[in-house]
């Protein structure tokens, strides 16, 4: 009887796993083809001088050497990306969490409405509207409101003055950043077992803050990890928002992040080898930061 039981168990597992693979197959195909393979290819391309037209020639470490030692703009872009990541990453993360928490308190129908309202900017292309709001003529909304209030006397160039550019870009990035991470946190809040709160009330939890720290956050660890990963990726690879909002290139490279720098070398200067080198460096940095955050969040026990 025992061998029979084992045989049944084995065949059950195999057919189950085949079904799982079949369901994964379409997404896996796209993922491997368009994400994994390009990443793997760009690593060796970083060691060549590929200009997209002629065959690449091996140039060794010269790209990386130029990158760190003689590329002034790259160093500047690291600074810009860090400022960007520090301001928009954690702030956005906290914002996602707070909003998800607050929305969770609302009655059922309002929950959906508000989730939609906060999620839509991440999908839609909001740059035209923001360009209108920050437009540099006196008809732009910010300019005209401030001029009406008497704070300004003449139109400020929000999008082309290097003093204001980073601020504007961070603002819009925060607006757009409520994306997949936000949804994950929303779902996470809904899945918390209500009995935990009751048990907590019995055990002596006095206010909402303690409830948050002792029950909610530990229960949401997987979602918080996911949201953190998404925010880090978004913060470090922010490039489109800068390009679409303040133009390419931004005045004096004020909103020039590492990704924009890579885009510049790849598509404008036809130096794909150098661009791949930049992307490889960014990839390694992000990988390191991710590992750090995972360890941090995993220790929160």
């Amino acid at each position: 009887m025992k061998p029979e039981k084992n045989r049944k168990k084995r065949s059950y597992n195999r057919s189950e796993s085949i079904e799982c693979w079949l369901m994964l197959a379409p997404f896996l195909a796209f993922f491997v083809l368009f994400t994994v393979i390009p990443v793997l290819i760009s690593l060796p391309v970083g060691f060549t001088d590929f200009d997209m037209i002629n065959m690449p020639h091996f140039t060794g470490l010269s790209n990386f050497k130029n990158l760190f030692l003689s590329d002034r703009i790259f160093i500047r872009s690291i600074r810009t990306t860090l400022i960007f990541a520090i301001f928009s990453g954690p702030v956005s993360y906290v914002l996602c969490f707070m909003l998800a928490w607050l929305i969770n308190e609302l009655p059922k129908h309002l929950k959906t409405v508000f989730t939609l309202i906060f999620y839509i900017p991440s999908m839609a292309s909001v740059y035209t509207v923001w360009q209108l709001i920050f437009s540099g003529d006196q008809y732009g909304y910010v300019n005209s409101v401030l001029m009406d209030l008497g704070i300004l006397t003449s139109a400020r160039q929000w999008l082309t003055d290097s003093r204001y550019i980073l601020f504007v870009v961070i603002l819009v990035q925060l607006w757009i950043s409520l994306g997949a991470g936000f949804l994950a946190l929303r779902a996470g809040f809904q899945n918390i077992d209500k009995s935990l709160y009751e048990a907590g009330a019995v055990e002596g939890i006095k206010n909402r803050w303690q409830e948050l720290v002792y029950i909610t956050v530990p229960a949401m660890k997987p979602q918080m990890l996911f949201a953190a990963v998404m925010q880090i990726v978004a913060a470090f690879t922010a490039d489109i928002v800068g390009r679409n909002l303040v133009g390419f290139p931004s005045t004096d490279y004020a909103a020039h992040t590492v990704m924009t720098h890579a885009y510049d070398y790849g598509w404008v200067r036809y130096e794909m080898g150098y661009s791949s080198a930049i992307c490889t460096v960014l990839f390694l940095v992000m990988y390191g930061v991710n590992k750090l955050i995972t360890r941090l969040l995993a220790q929160e026990d």
Binding site: D51, I53, N54, S144, D148, Q157, R163, D252, R269
Partner: protein, 634 residues
């Protein structure tokens, strides 16, 4: 037009058979409908057609019933526009709500006239309602207008507050008037039946339309929308057109009727917008690409993707068709890699009426004249608009770029003779840069503005734009007809006393890729397409399809005179074109344009010293040029 009807005058063989045919009404309907001309009593009208010979049916758009109210509305719009501008000159575009402008005391006749206009508007609205039987949304625009005018007459002190509403309503009525002129009508077929036959049914059955929809949906997966004309032959020439469907169809018509039969070369035409560069890089590009512009020809040529044209048969003759320096945009390292197709250059547009009202009688001929005019303009809250690159800085210099104009007029190009460095460290160049930034820092020119809206509402009576702005004005702002004109760009007085109106231009051209197998066929195609005859025909075709808005800015000098420009306009265009000088595109042009803009913005926005700034950024430009030269030499 919703709520109204479109009217047509129908004539048979050049004669209108009866009075009902003078004004056949097609009422507005979303669905298919049969329209049968009938008498007032509802009887069908019969027309006699003699047998055995062909007949012509002509349908001509006529104003119809709506003509009378429209005729009364036109002068009202003109009067309102004039009042709007006079109020604007007193209050400025954003009136301060705490200031008493006393508009009714400065313009004493305003209340009386507004009352009069309001009365006339009420009459017109009534007559429109009588026509259609109900208040359409169009008549509501008129109602909004006279409501505002009544409010202005009641409380003249609030006129500045209503300024923006006045402007919006005037614009709404103008655009409605423009729409009515079109008398839009789409005809599917014309049916002629004798007395005993029945006209076919046009109301569609729900199920048959459902079946049709399903079939059309499935067919949409099978059809190749980008291929405009295909040829079965394997060695056909592949041509990609980087513009819209209308232009591609025009090319196709010309190719099929005049190129393939004469030269016996089959051609495949596809519409591909964007992605031509990427396709070429991937090796899947075409043999010939049309309307490729910007910095792409030079960049592709520098990397060996384009075929060199100046050593081919017939190049010298083909070159005569264009302005002297038009080839510059397609020249790299001494070789020419493309033929110009379109060429756009700047001219100065001006509002005659507003300048006269502001007391300016002569147009500025030089930059100094323009600056001298500024106090008179700015006192009346008016401005002048110059060309300034927007956020996305392209590698090729925009036509009319103020800095480029100043440099060229002083006889300087951007680069030295062998294109290895810029000329920006010379005294003349630094002075030009300083002059440019002074316009914005000392003389308060605005950096960002919308040329069309501002020219139309009159706040910017002088605007420098490409001459194609003309087409936009003619088709989208018809209420300004006769009130504006254009002339040469402001120039610089040279030491010998003459004034140089040099300017740069930009355009798109035709290129041949090196990977093509039939190089001679491709070159033949280029020569044919850029010839005067074909360019004129193409221009007329495109203008016929797209209207005035789509008038083609051909690079072919003679073809331009064959398009529908008036002789006066043509003269100005030719004079300006003769003075064009070009700024070459080099592979490192992106560094040049972006550093110039950064230097400009640092000087103007952050108030730095112009001379230091341009010298500083010039270093970056030269480093980048050297780097690119080394990069491409390997």
């Amino acid at each position: 037009m919703r709520g109204f009807n479109s009217a047509r005058r129908i004539s048979i063989d050049g004669e209108v058979p009866c009075s009902e045919f003078e004004n056949v009404r097609f009422s507005y309907d979303n669905d298919w409908q049969n329209v049968i001309p009938q008498t007032d009593e509802g009887e069908d009208i019969y027309v006699y057609l003699t047998a055995g010979e062909g007949h012509n049916i002509t349908m001509e758009a006529v104003p119809g019933d709506i003509g009378e109210p429209m005729r009364k509305l036109e002068p009202i719009v003109d009067e309102l526009n004039e009042y709007y501008r006079r109020i604007l000159m007193i209050t400025g575009p954003s009136p301060d709500k705490y200031t008493d402008y006393n508009v009714d005391r400065v313009i004493p006749e305003i209340t009386g006239d507004f009352k009069d206009i309001s009365g006339r508007l009420k009459e017109i609205k009534k007559s429109i309602e009588d026509l259609t039987g109900f208040t359409g949304s169009e008549a509501a625009g008129i109602e909004r207008m006279y409501v505002i005018l009544d409010k202005c007459t009641e409380k003249p002190a609030r006129i500045p507050m209503y300024l923006s509403q006045l402007k919006d309503n005037i614009a709404a009525i103008s655009s409605w008037m423009r729409d009515y002129r079109d008398q839009p009508l789409e005809i599917d077929y014309i049916e002629i039946a004798s007395a005993d036959a029945e006209f076919s049914q046009v109301k569609e059955n729900f199920f048959s339309s459902l079946a049709f929809g399903a079939k059309a949906f499935i067919a949409s997966f099978k059809q190749d929308y980008s291929l405009v004309s295909g040829s079965e032959k394997k060695d056909a020439l592949t041509v990609w057109v980087s513009l819209g469907r209308d232009q591609a169809l025009a090319v196709k018509e010309l190719v099929e009727s005049e190129f393939t039969p004469v030269y016996d070369i089959p051609v495949n035409i596809s519409i591909v917008q964007g992605g031509v560069v990427e396709a070429a890089l991937a090796g899947k590009g075409p043999d010939v690409a049309l309307f490729l512009g910007g910095e792409f020809p030079v960049n592709l040529a520098a990397r060996g993707l384009l075929e060199r044209l100046d050593e081919k048969d017939g190049f010298e003759e083909a070159k005569q068709n264009f302005q002297e320096e038009a080839m510059t945009q397609y020249t790299y390292d001494g070789g020419v890699y493309g033929m110009p197709l379109s060429q756009s250059f700047p001219v100065m547009f001006y509002r005659k009426d507003i300048l006269t009202e502001a007391g300016i009688t002569t147009l500025p001929e030089t930059w100094d004249d323009l600056v001298e005019m500024m106090p008179a303009l700015q006192r009346n809250n008016l401005h002048a608009g110059l060309v300034l690159p927007s956020s996305n800085i392209s590698a090729s210099t925009e036509p009319g770029h103020t800095f480029a104009l100043l440099m060229l007029q002083n006889g300087l190009g951007y680069y030295n003779d062998d294109m290895t460095a810029t000329t920006f460290d010379s005294v003349s160049a630094v002075q030009s840069f300083e002059k440019w930034t002074d316009l914005y820092t000392d003389y308060r020119f605005e950096q960002v503005y919308d040329p069309f809206s501002r020219f139309r509402d009159g706040t910017y009576p002088i605007v420098i734009q490409n001459y194609t702005f003309c087409n936009q004005l003619k088709s989208a702002a018809p209420e300004l007809n006769g009130l504006w004109g254009f002339t040469l760009v402001p120039g610089t007085e040279l030491p010998d006393g003459t004034v140089s109106h040099a300017a740069n231009s930009a355009g798109s051209g035709a290129v041949v890729f090196t990977k093509t197998k039939n190089k001679d066929d491709a070159w033949q195609f280029l020569k044919w397409f850029t010839s005067t005859e074909v360019q004129s025909e193409y221009g007329t075709l495109v203008e016929g399809l797209l209207g005035t808005m789509g008038r083609y800015d051909t690079a072919n000098t003679e073809a331009l005179s064959n398009l529908s420009w008036t002789p006066a306009e043509l003269k100005i265009l030719e004079t300006q074109r003769d003075e064009l000088k070009e700024i070459p595109v080099i592979p490192a042009s992106y560094a040049v344009t972006r550093n110039i803009m950064t230097a400009f913005r640092e000087t103007v926005n952050s108030h730095r010293n112009p001379r230091d700034t341009i010298m500083w950024y010039n270093r970056d430009i030269n480093t980048e040029i050297k780097r690119k030269l080394k990069d491409l030499a390997e």
